[in-house]
């Protein structure tokens, strides 16, 4: 039995007090190297909060970010380093886990002020979407690459194809997700696709990358960095911005989701069945309480699955629910990816989605949702481990 008054939870215990990002560039277009991008985003987040960067005592990231914690601490001259956490595997599936790991460090008393970030210069280090220069390959990719299943589009299309087959999901449902992201990007001057609107005709006429993904079903590839500053709830009110409290977070995947190659029992899934359940339990909310969602689009099909697994609709109702009207701010039923997301703001490996959820809670988004006291972020779908989180205002805490 737990001790009275002792609850193992992150609910309301930490808050985001600052957010910052670099300019977002097309892949290869950043004038700065990756590590410098990381530093710029971190300083920008500290300036937003009004905190001295020397106070940072921890760093958290995911997907083997190359901007290593001790180098950051040395470069920034922080007084001491108390936590350095890296989420294992899952690529962009770790974008919320990195926040959860930082929050756990703070709640456990290991650190007081943790920066969570992602920096990515695909021009400097190579693109996710190209796979040249590999002679021999072993492990999971050995069963895939010789057959031309090389980069993420080919690695995920068969999952989505199977899901569409099992539940009768149509192309139009995926198209609505792309259109909503592009619609929101038109209001967002940070967005790489700002000033480049998308309409149904343009989507339909766009080339196939791999069926069932058109060009506009696939995320961009970009250079940039994004960061946030996390402190314990006791200190949340000391800084310049309205705090966004962490209501909950969850990490993982279901039974044998990591069975390679493509042998996970629940194949046609985004890996969120168990993770969504854990999140809602910790945050003590359900899908009906959520006013706005940022859901990682590696591919639109993954968003369909992820939203269904978070209980917003049954898979069989995806075609009815997923319309542009329902997915756009301010008054759609479920405003989605209100910054433009991975498709149209920037592929900051999903971390731009976390920053956008903070803006929604603050009330400063360029596409503000009517209900934004409780904001959901869903990390990269169809991977393991996946992760998600919920942010809320003081009122929602």
């Amino acid at each position: 039995m737990p001790r009275p008054g002792y609850e193992r939870t992150l609910r309301g215990r930490v808050a985001v007090i600052g957010i910052g990002e670099t300019e977002y560039y097309r892949h290869g277009a950043s004038p700065d190297p990756e590590f410098k991008l990381a530093l710029k985003a971190i300083l920008s987040a500290c300036a937003d909060a009004g905190i001295d960067p020397r106070e940072i005592d921890g760093f958290s990231s995911y997907s083997d970010d190359r901007s290593e914690a001790s180098r950051l601490a040395a470069a920034l001259g922080t007084r001491q380093l108390r936590t350095a956490t890296m989420q294992w595997g899952g690529g962009g599936g770790g974008c919320c886990a990195a926040v959860a790991n930082a929050a756990a460090s703070i709640v456990a008393g290991l650190a007081d002020c943790v920066v969570v970030f992602r920096s990515l210069a695909q021009g400097q280090y190579g693109r996710f979407g190209q796979t040249d220069g590999i002679n021999t390959i072993s492990g999971e990719r050995a069963y895939l690459m010789p057959y031309g299943v090389l980069a993420p589009p080919q690695r995920f299309a068969m999952r989505v194809q199977r899901y569409m087959h099992e539940h009768g999901v149509r192309q139009e449902a995926m198209r609505a997700i792309a259109l909503a992201s592009y619609h929101h990007a038109q209001a967002n001057p940070r967005a790489a696709m700002h000033g480049k609107p998308l309409d149904p005709g343009k989507y339909d006429a766009s080339r196939w990358i791999v069926e069932p993904f058109h060009l506009y079903d696939c995320c961009m590839e970009n250079d940039g960095a994004a960061a946030l500053v996390l402190v314990s709830e006791e200190r949340a009110q000391e800084f310049r911005q309205k705090p966004a409290y962490l209501l909950g977070a969850a990490i993982g995947s279901g039974h044998r989701a990591g069975a390679i190659p493509h042998n996970s029992p629940d194949y046609a899934s985004a890996s969120f069945e168990t993770v969504a359940r854990d999140l809602y339990r910790m945050a003590r909310v359900g899908p009906a309480d959520i006013g706005v969602v940022q859901s990682y689009e590696n591919f639109t099909g993954g968003v369909v699955m992820a939203l269904a697994e978070h209980g917003f609709f049954k898979p069989e109702d995806a075609n009815d629910f997923l319309t542009v009207e329902n997915l756009t701010a301010p008054s759609g039923r479920l405003p989605l990816n209100t910054s433009g997301g991975n498709l149209a703001e920037c592929y900051m490996h999903g971390f731009e989605l976390v920053l956008e959820a903070v803006r929604q809670v603050r009330g400063t988004s360029t596409s503000q949702a009517k209900r934004s006291d409780v904001a959901l972020v869903i990390g990269g779908p169809m991977v393991t481990p996946a992760s998600n989180l919920l942010l809320g205002s003081e009122a929602a805490r």
Binding site: Q130, S138, Y143, M145, P146, G148, R256
Partner: protein
């Protein structure tokens, strides 16, 4: 089948090899000899693919390699248009399939569907496997490809 020029995809894609610890070596060596080997636990009879050092069901180590007939049905598929590798530039579309093997515990394998790359593909269709040998590659290797069963 077999020699350079008769393979489904052009030469130059990554070549599959076993891990340094040899975990999948029997699988790749089997394909070289026109044999499909997958793991089956000799204690609890659970099928397992890809290979692992332990049976995921009963935790017996070193599941036995068992030869099975390469036949199954299409569980999912994709038609790839965008070349994600220099070797595929100007190649045109190709089809990858995920094949389920009901006679081996419904394990699944990825391969290509031989024939017209623009053919309609039906989930559930029966397919049979053939061994595609890359004898001019360095190192040499073999793949398992799939064709619709008439």
């Amino acid at each position: 089948m077999s020699t350079f020029g008769s393979t489904y995809l052009p030469a130059g894609l990554p070549i599959p090899v076993s891990e340094p610890d040899g975990l999948s070596a029997p699988y790749w060596e089997g394909l070289r000899q026109n044999r499909l080997l997958v793991q089956r636990c000799c204690h609890c009879r659970t099928w397992q693919f890809g290979p692992e050092w332990i049976c995921h069901h009963c935790h017996a180590f070193d599941p036995e390699w068992t030869e099975i007939e390469p036949r199954g049905r299409i569980f999912s598929w994709e038609r790839v248009w965008h070349p994600s590798h220099a070797a595929l530039k100007q190649h045109g579309p190709y089809i990858a399939v995920l094949v389920e093997l009901p006679q081996a515990g419904h394990i699944r394998m990825v391969g290509n569907l031989l024939g017209d790359p623009r053919q309609e593909v039906r989930i559930g269709a029966s397919v049979a496997g053939t061994f595609e040998h890359h004898d001019n590659a360095h190192p040499t290797f073999s793949l398992l490809q799939w064709s619709l069963q008439r």
